[in-house]
């Protein structure tokens, strides 16, 4: 856990809630600190305001899966797969397909 970076990004997001990259940065610091709900909230905010190329959806899906919110995780992976393909990242799409299959097996 790195409270300094986490606190810095919390402050930045409080000052500029529509700063997509600040939201992404805060989500990453929250993930490192194990603050999954805060990470999910900020990844969702980031994705609502930024045209992500796929990895943002993957990170959201990973966090949702860890929280046990499997249906939402699967939906995020699915969007990530479609987005990664659209932006020409087939390897990323395949990676998400595998993780999606793993979630299906867990159920």
């Amino acid at each position: 856990m790195n409270p300094t970076r986490l606190d810095s990004f919390r402050l930045l997001v409080a000052q500029s809630p529509n700063n997509a990259l600040a939201r992404f940065g805060l989500a990453n610091e929250a993930l490192k600190a194990g603050l999954l709900r805060e990470a999910v909230e900020n990844l969702q905010a980031y994705l609502s305001m930024h045209e992500d190329e796929g990895n943002g959806y993957g990170r959201l899906a990973d966090a949702l899966a860890k929280l046990g919110r499997l249906d939402e995780a699967k939906a995020a992976y699915q969007t990530g797969i479609e987005t990664a393909r659209r932006f020409g990242h087939p390897g990323m799409a395949s990676d998400f397909e595998e993780r999606l299959a793993e979630l299906d097996e867990r159920e």
Binding site: T4, L21, G25, N55, M92
Partner: protein, 273 residues
């Protein structure tokens, strides 16, 4: 370490991999001009366990293919790194760049921020403060000199690169490795292409976006770098929020070769951030 070739967008790139897959994000090491993956060979063993390590030769360097009209500027290399990551199924990685590789790393952190977990810039090009006066002169004279024998251009380059090493014996051995692919006429043409692509406008265009970098960033510099002075490091440190700055005493430009253990320690701390 295990090396192999991989097809990326129709070009064959060489890379070597090390480490083991674990909980940590993969680490990608990017060399600069006119070096190769060899630059990192003593740093890679200093990396902590649990990280997959990927060390490519950029297109036209080391063992990778010669370019065939592909872009060998910062953007071209950066987009090929993204394609390499896609091929290796790496979605999110810590990126370490040296010299022009640092310019490529800056481009990745700014243009593909969700692919960059952390950013480390070691004796990196930045702003419009590069290339060196000698390289600018060499570029300016290329219309006259580009058809001279490869040995002529290489002798100039060899002398200039040697200045980047404190340990001249080590420098001589490494410079031999770096310039080998550029010997003979075809190699000389590739070298000329690389030199023509050294464009400070590529990094100058990123300057106003450095403040938007959200990845934890480490800036590491040789105290006596004769090509890229420490003033650039300090300016990068002021421009990138939350970045750390380490100046390594007794090191010149090729810091990853001259102080691999110190770099290893700094990068290990950086991986914990």
């Amino acid at each position: 370490m295990r090396g192999e070739f991989i097809d990326v967008g129709g070009a064959r790139l060489y890379y070597y991999a090390a480490g083991s897959r674990g909980v940590g994000e993969p680490i990608v090491f990017i060399h600069g001009f006119p070096t190769s993956s060899h630059l990192w060979c003593d740093v890679v063993p200093c990396m902590p366990e649990g990280h997959r390590v990927v060390v490519p030769d950029l297109l036209g360097y080391g063992r990778s293919d010669r370019p065939d009209e592909q872009d060998v500027g910062i953007k071209g290399h950066a987009e090929r790194i993204i394609a390499l990551l896609d091929t290796l199924r790496i979605s999110y990685a810590s990126i370490v760049g040296h010299d022009v590789g640092g310019g490529i790393a800056q481009y990745l952190a700014i243009k593909h921020p969700t692919r960059v977990a952390r950013l480390a810039l070691i004796d990196s090009v930045a702003f419009d403060d590069w290339p060196t006066r000698n390289v600018k002169l060499a570029k300016a004279s290329l219309p006259l000199t580009r058809h001279l024998p490869a040995t002529w251009i290489l002798s100039i380059l060899r002398g200039d690169l040697q200045r980047g090493y404190t340990d001249q014996d080590r420098g001589a051995r490494s410079v031999d490795i770096y310039i080998r692919p550029f010997s003979a006429a075809k190699g000389r043409d590739v070298l000329v292409e690389h030199m023509l692509s050294l464009d400070p406008a590529d990094t100058e265009a990123l300057t106003t976006r450095l403040k938007d970098i959200v990845a934890p960033t480490a800036i590491v510099w040789g105290a006596h770098d004769p090509f890229l002075p420490t003033a650039i490091a300090k300016r990068l440190h002021e421009s990138i929020p939350g970045s750390t700055l380490d100046i390594i005493p007794d090191a010149r430009h090729f810091t990853p070769e001259e102080a691999p253990e110190t770099i290893g320690k700094i990068l290990t701390q950086w991986l914990d951030r």
